[in-house]
Each structure stands twice: as structure tokens, then as C-alpha cells.
């Protein structure tokens, strides 16, 4: 039986996606919904991993999902931190101001259409200001890295396990139940 595909490549790809989604201001707001960006990253890792399987290979197992989710989450945490630091160093406040202005226009439009109450729109703007201020501090960067190193692997594992539940092979591999 052929060996299973290498996990590292898939973990790096999905980790970069998790990091990019979580590190770029504005897009990172997707994580405000229960870390949806990280969940989706873990799910994507399992999809990509499944695509690499060919006939004659050992079937995909749930332990692959656990390991892949863990690896993607750790890579994602580092990439997210590096991305936000890179954006801050290269673009500085210009990029932050640009994202802020785009975001404020979007929120104002939502407030005008009645989707978001005006007081909530103000709270959202304050929240973005706060996150921009935090990302500019060294303690903020390391604090964020520490938290993401705990949270991202957890949610990426959950995403990958959910991915396994969705993309799993029709007949699950036989496992020895150690009692």
C-alpha cells in the first residue's frame, strides 16, 4: 500500500490562508463570528488533503484531521502575526487609515439601510480603532501571538475534524478500540 500524502504542504497552504484571513485588517473581521476564518481554514486543509489521495493509498483517517488541524492552526497563528506586523511596518498608518475609511463607509451604508442601528455602527468604528491601536504596540503583538497560538490550533482542529466528517471516505478505516 502506498504512503499517505505529505501533510506539511497542505498545512502550510491552509496555515497561510488562515494567517492571511486573520492578519489583514478588515478581512480579519470574519473571525468575529466564532473564529469562522480559522474553522474554514481547517476545513479547507482537509479538502486539500483529500484531493491528494490516489488509488492504492491508505485511506484518510480522523487522526490525519487532528494533526493537520493542529499544524495549520500553529502556522496560521504565526502567519497572522507576521502579516499584521508586515502591514504595519510597510504601509504604516496609511493602510490602516485606508481600511478604516473603507470599513466606516461600509458600516455607514449598513446603518443607512437600517441593517445596523446607528449606535452599533459607532461601536463597530470604536472597535476597529481599538484593534488598530493594539496592533501597533509590541505588547499587543506578542499578546496577540500568545492568544492565537492557543485559540487558532483549537479551532483549526475543530474545522479539520468537521472537514473529516464531511469529506470522509465512505467506509471508515477499521480501528483498534483500546479499552
Amino acid at each position: 500500500m502506498l504512503e499517505k500524502p505529505n501533510k506539511l504542504r497542505v498545512a502550510l497552504i491552509s496555515g497561510v490562508v488562515i494567517g492571511a484571513v486573520s492578519g489583514i485588517p478588515g478581512i480579519s473581521l470574519i473571525n468575529c463570528c466564532c473564529c469562522a476564518g480559522v474553522w474554514l481554514g481547517g476545513l479547507m486543509a482537509m479538502y486539500l488533503y483529500k484531493q491528494q489521495f490516489t488509488e492504492g493509498m491508505a485511506p484518510m483517517e480522523s487522526s490525519d484531521a487532528l494533526i493537520l488541524g493542529l499544524m495549520s492552526g500553529v502556522v496560521g497563528a504565526f502567519v497572522a502575526t507576521l502579516t499584521s506586523v508586515f502591514i504595519l511596518l510597510v504601509f504604516g498608518p496609511v493602510e490602516a487609515e485606508f481600511v478604516k475609511s473603507v470599513f466606516e463607509k461600509f458600516v455607514e451604508r449598513l446603518a443607512e439601510s437600517g441593517s445596523v442601528p446607528s449606535d452599533l455602527a459607532d461601536q463597530l468604528k470604536d472597535q476597529l480603532d481599538q484593534s488598530i491601536r493594539d496592533s501597533a504596540r509590541i505588547s499587543g503583538i506578542f499578546g496577540n501571538l500568545f492568544i492565537t497560538l492557543i485559540v487558532f490550533p483549537i479551532f483549526a482542529i475543530l474545522g479539520a475534524l468537521l472537514g473529516y466528517a464531511i469529506f470522509r471516505p465512505k467506509t471508515p478505516p477499521q480501528t483498534t478500540q483500546a479499552q
Binding site: 466564532c34 480522523s62 492568544i147
Partner: protein
């Protein structure tokens, strides 16, 4: 205690600790403001924590919004009830259409709110979160238990091989 029960118990403790943090943040605000602030910071990357969209205890918001609270607490309750309705050792995962059905109310609520057709309320956010969170353990726990068993088997095999090599 079987391995499945041990893994289940550890996972339950992890989820219960996660949910306890969400409640402790507002409860500790008057007496331990620093710990409370740390807890709010911990949950900040995963939730917007907007006051108007959160549930409150004694006037202080929970560490995550109403929808997230619905997801996490229904996940915890569902996880507690899991051994009653599903055999722990069984690797069976429900059909994925139930997951789509559970996700549908949340998707509809978000869609109606974003398009301005019908604004979502605390009640709809919490309820749709509960619908989604309640089904998740049935998709996550079987592969998790199976994965830990597989890893343990691999470690035992590796340990046995090392022992055999040393014995030679």
C-alpha cells in the same frame, strides 16, 4: 475507565472551562477587574464583543456575543447529553444534511439582517446559535475519539518496536 470515556471527559472539561471563562468575565468585573479584563482580551480575537449584541449578567456583557454564547453553551449541553443519546465508542457520524439544516436558521438570520429585510434581534441570534452549536458535537466527537485511539495505537506500536529493538 475506557479510553473513549477519558478523552470525552477531557474534552468536556476543556469546553466547560471555555464556557466558564465567558461567564466569569462579567462576574469578576466588580471584584477582580484585571482578571476580568484579561478574560475579555482572551476572547476578543474570536468575537466582536459588541455590547448591544451580547447577553448580560448583572449589567455586564458576557465575554462573547449572543450568537457565540448560543453556540458555545448549546455545544456544552449537547456534549453533556451526548453519551445518553449516542454510544461513545461508535464512530458513526450523522448525515451531513443535518448540519446544513442546523446552519440554515443562522444563514437566513444573517442574510435577512444584512439585506435589511428583517433586523436580527438578541433572541434570533441566540436561537440560531443554539441550533448550530447543538448539532456540532455529533460531528466532532466521533472523529476526535477515533483520532485519539488511532494516535494511541500508533504510539503503542512505536513503543513496542523500540522495546523489541532494545531487547535485541
Amino acid at each position: 475507565m475506557s479510553d473513549s470515556k477519558k478523552v470525552y471527559s477531557a474534552f468536556l472539561v476543556l469546553v466547560a472551562t471555555w464556557c466558564a471563562g465567558i461567564i466569569l468575565a462579567p462576574l469578576l468585573e466588580p471584584s477582580e477587574p484585571r482578571i476580568s479584563s484579561l478574560l475579555y482580551s482572551f476572547y476578543a480575537p474570536i468575537c466582536h464583543q459588541i455590547d448591544g449584541r451580547s447577553l448580560h449578567i448583572d449589567g455586564a456583557k458576557l465575554a462573547v456575543c449572543a450568537r457565540c454564547s448560543g453556540i458555545y453553551f448549546s455545544f456544552l449541553i449537547s456534549l453533556l447529553l451526548y453519551p445518553v443519546v449516542h454510544r461513545l465508542a461508535s464512530p458513526a457520524i450523522p448525515n451531513r444534511r443535518w448540519l446544513s439544516i442546523a446552519l440554515l436558521p443562522m444563514a437566513v438570520d444573517v442574510f435577512l439582517n444584512v439585506t435589511g429585510i428583517h433586523p436580527s434581534s438578541i433572541l434570533t441570534r441566540t436561537f440560531t446559535g443554539i441550533c448550530f452549536g447543538a448539532v456540532l458535537p455529533f460531528y466532532l466527537l466521533p472523529p476526535l475519539l477515533e483520532a485519539v485511539t488511532q494516535l494511541q495505537t500508533r504510539l503503542h506500536l512505536r513503543g513496542g518496536l523500540l522495546y523489541a529493538r532494545k531487547a535485541q
